[in-house]
């Protein structure tokens, strides 16, 4: 567990901290409480969905369209959990990982777990996931306190660290042809977001781009 926790301290934690700091400052600016920000970070734990929900709250009116869009934006949790599950062991203990399945722990796990002995995989993942999750919540609290002092340009840069870090994670796996094909498929399908509602468009781009990439790999 310690090895996973140590692996989380570094680039993953910095990216998580920067993103959650920016999110929490935006929560404070929207007039919501620290409890709301912490609960969103802890229990939603998926930044695109969190940002969509926050935008819906800020806009006023009915919250339910924003909730539906946020669920669609975070729908990637389903395929991520499916692909991660076999690496967490077959017993009931794998359900301990349930609340922590999100992009950063998933990407870290998919890179590290295949190289570990089966009996160490779940412990490593729990250490890594708890390191990321703890950092995110600490940054949430810090962002709330710092919100009045953070200029808009810095908040935007903090939020940008999130896609930048995810891009680096995918680039680090460039030697894997399966990942390469899926990255190309997703990138080519991304314009769908411009013609469909943003949250559903992302899900459609992933499904279409990922399925085509999978079929491309199966033909080779």
């Amino acid at each position: 567990m310690r090895a996973g926790f140590r692996a989380a301290l570094g680039a993953p934690s910095i990216a998580m901290a920067a993103t959650f700091l920016g999110f929490s400052a935006a929560v404070a600016a929207a007039g919501l409480g620290l409890g709301w920000g912490l609960a969103a970070g802890a229990f939603v734990y998926g930044m695109p969905g969190q940002l969509i929900l926050l935008a819906g709250v800020t806009a006023g009116g009915s919250i339910w369209p924003a909730v539906a869009s946020a669920v669609a934006a975070n729908a990637r949790f389903l395929p991520m959990a499916v692909s991660l599950a076999p690496w967490l062991g077959g017993g009931r203990a794998r359900w301990l990982a349930l609340p922590f399945i999100a992009v950063t722990p998933w990407a870290g796990g998919m890179r590290a777990l295949p190289g570990l002995p089966p009996e160490e995989r779940l412990r490593w993942f729990m250490g890594f996931a708890l390191g990321c999750w703890g950092t995110a919540l600490l940054a949430c609290a810090a962002g709330f306190a710092l919100a009045p002092a953070l200029p808009g340009w810095l908040l935007a840069l903090l939020v940008f660290s999130n896609p930048l870090y995810f891009g680096l994670l995918l680039a680090m796996d460039r030697a894997n042809p399966t990942t390469r094909r899926a990255v190309i498929g997703g990138a080519l399908a991304s314009p769908l977001v411009l013609v469909l509602p943003a949250a559903w468009g992302l899900l459609a781009a992933g499904l279409i781009g990922g399925t085509l990439a999978f079929l491309w790999g199966a033909r080779r």
């Binding site: 499916v82 991660l84 599950a85 940008f160 930048l164 891009g167 997703g186």
Partner: protein, 107 residues
């Protein structure tokens, strides 16, 4: 309870359900099962589309950053990552630094 709280509760429950459904669907399957490989491909493609849009056509706070700055940040981060040593933290900081520098120059 306010609408914001109800919305948060609903979203948290939905996200937990999506994760649980994934673990349940995977069941006893092995990592090389076609269904698992397909799911991994969809997950990576979704993430890839999210990144491409965040750099080229973002919404929200990211839209405040001019596109040349976003692009410069992405290129700088990749360049540092592809250098010998594959240092991801240095790459992340280089990307953010380049984004900030180009944004400042463009302002």
């Amino acid at each position: 309870m306010s609408q914001a709280t109800w919305g948060l509760l609903a979203l948290a429950a939905a996200c937990l359900t999506l994760r649980a459904a994934g673990l349940w669907l995977a069941g006893p399957l092995r990592p090389d099962h076609p269904f698992i490989r397909w799911a991994a491909s969809v997950a990576v493609a979704t993430l890839s589309a999210f990144i491409v849009l965040a750099v080229l056509a973002p919404a929200g706070a990211l839209a405040a950053i001019p596109w040349p700055a976003r692009l410069a940040g992405a290129v700088a981060a990749l360049a540092v990552l592809l250098a010998p040593g594959e240092r991801v933290l240095a790459a992340l900081l280089a990307g953010l630094g380049a984004t900030g520098a180009v944004w400042w120059l463009a302002a």
